[in-house]
């Protein structure tokens, strides 16, 4: 039991606070895609960041690289400042709102 040495090692409380405004502004029971510049690996913290975002955004459903239908809304969580023009051009993501601290909401351009 090393709670004092290692309090909240995955920063879940911080994630809940970081996502709070976005969570409140999403339409009820939304399904949103997760987009990040963190690799989805355990060592990079990418897996913890994704699951933390899932927990913070629930009861909205957050999906990562969905195989079937792509949701219209995309939540971006970035370590580095993203190139928005490149994101729009390559991924079809148009910025809806920047929430700060690397958190952004995008809308996917319809083809």
């Amino acid at each position: 039991m090393n709670a004092r040495e290692n309090p909240d090692p995955w920063a879940i409380a911080r994630q809940v606070e970081r996502f709070a405004q976005l969570r409140a502004e999403l339409p009820p029971n939304s399904i949103v895609e997760y987009y990040t510049d963190l690799p989805y690996t355990r060592d990079s913290g990418g897996i913890a960041a994704f699951f933390g975002a899932c927990y913070a955004l629930a009861p909205h459903l957050l999906v990562y690289q969905p195989r079937a239908t792509k949701p219209e809304l995309v939540v971006g969580s970035f370590l580095k400042r993203p190139d928005l023009a490149q994101l729009e051009q390559e991924q079809g993501l148009v910025l809806v709102k920047n929430y700060g601290r690397g958190l952004m909401l995008f809308r996917r351009k319809s083809n």
Binding site: M1, A3, R4, P7, D8, W10, I12, A13, V16, P28, N29, I31, R42, A48, F50, F51, G52, C54, Y55, A58, P59, L61, V63, Y64, P66
Partner: protein
Amino acid sequence: MAFIPFILAVAAGCLLAKSAAVSRGLRPRLCALLLELSIGAGLGAGISSCLYFVLLASGLAGRGSILAANCFLLAIAALLYWKMRPAAAAETAPPPQAKTSSLVLIFSGLALVACLLPAAIGNLQLASSNPHGLWDAWAIWNLRAKYLAGDAEAWRYALSPLLDKTHPDYPLLLSGFIAENWRFAGQFDTSVPIVTGFMFSAAVIAILASALAVQRSLGLAAAALMVMLSDQQFLTHLGGQLSDIPLGFFYLASITTVLLMENSDEPGRAAAALAGALAALAAWTKDEGIVFALIFLVCFAALEFWRGGAGRLWRNTSWALAGALPVLALVGIFKLMVAPPANPLTSQPASEAAARILTADRVWTLVKSIWVFSTDRGAGIAQPLLVLALAVAGLGFLKPLRFKKTVVFGWVVLGLLFGGYCAAILANPTLLGHEWSAPFDRMFSQLWPSFLLALFLTLRAPEEFLPAAPSPAQPERIKKKRSARRGHGPTAHPQG
């Protein structure tokens, strides 16, 4: 506000457990009461969770219906308790109790303080610094509780195939119970999963200690408690809001109920139904619990046949099934018709699973992993298995064994369950080989309390090593003196 369904459910469970009267007439009374209340608390939470899922699936889940369902549960429990209250039932004569020596009382008290205080402080620290729980708590159980507590049809997200990375097929006892309190309160209050976790943790500790205290002795209960709480991994899981402690609770509570049935030649139907319901609620807690419930019911039938032939087999097994089947039916419907097929163990061809189980390399990796995880659960040399070995060496085995049939039953159930765990890990393509995905630490925490109950029932009690307590009767010399002082002859009022 968030705890109104919680309190109603726990109160209902306590009344139901008291109705079964499994510890009636047992001493110390405080331990017997604690045992019933502890079993009842988890039982109530489990039944309430089942009711909430039925409400969700029928589209009726709302604040009013949650309150009504839990009030209905409480009313049914109160009615059962009233019908089966002690005055209406034949009172069992209390067994003669040996006088507990003050040395044993001091030892037990010190053991309680020495074990429980650091565990309580450590877990409070853990809860305050990790209010959302450990990894599996926020990534699986509390996450799904948020979906189940969401408005309208959000509960279906808890079972969505899109949630493929967080086990959408897992049973919903813990998530459902937390969710109904969140839904009732209208907010995701972190105190609900924290208190729920503490309730199950306290119940596990109380059941192990009080079951040994009422069936054997206070000293043995204190020794078992010391060994149980020397397991640091187990302590971490106690405050981590994981479902492994509730699962361990249902394993322990159902085996303990069978143990308590030993106290009567003709145990009540309610006790058998209670045992069955508790085992089935394990199946509503985690996938491993499904295996446990099936093993438990088969072994229970065998035990009842062993105890009293075909008559007792049919009578008690049918009542155990009556307690288990409603919950098992819910689990069956959930698994077969509602939850997506997301378990890599069950979605592979049987031939592949068999090939994995029979691969020597995998078996060797499993053996090594079990060894590593079981010998690294303490701090430094204070390893629980070492503490356990010292306790076994110090106390020695009881001869002849009391509660022999139940002890054999407990060992067979736990042995088969452990075998089932090993087979499932071997057959699962994703579990072996990754330290972080190996379930061994949680597997040990699930089995640890029941294993200790089964083991400590086979040990001698510390009281047997103490000189016999002095007889409460007064020595003859004092009697004569007092009698002479009152002016009577020593034979005028013979005492003793």
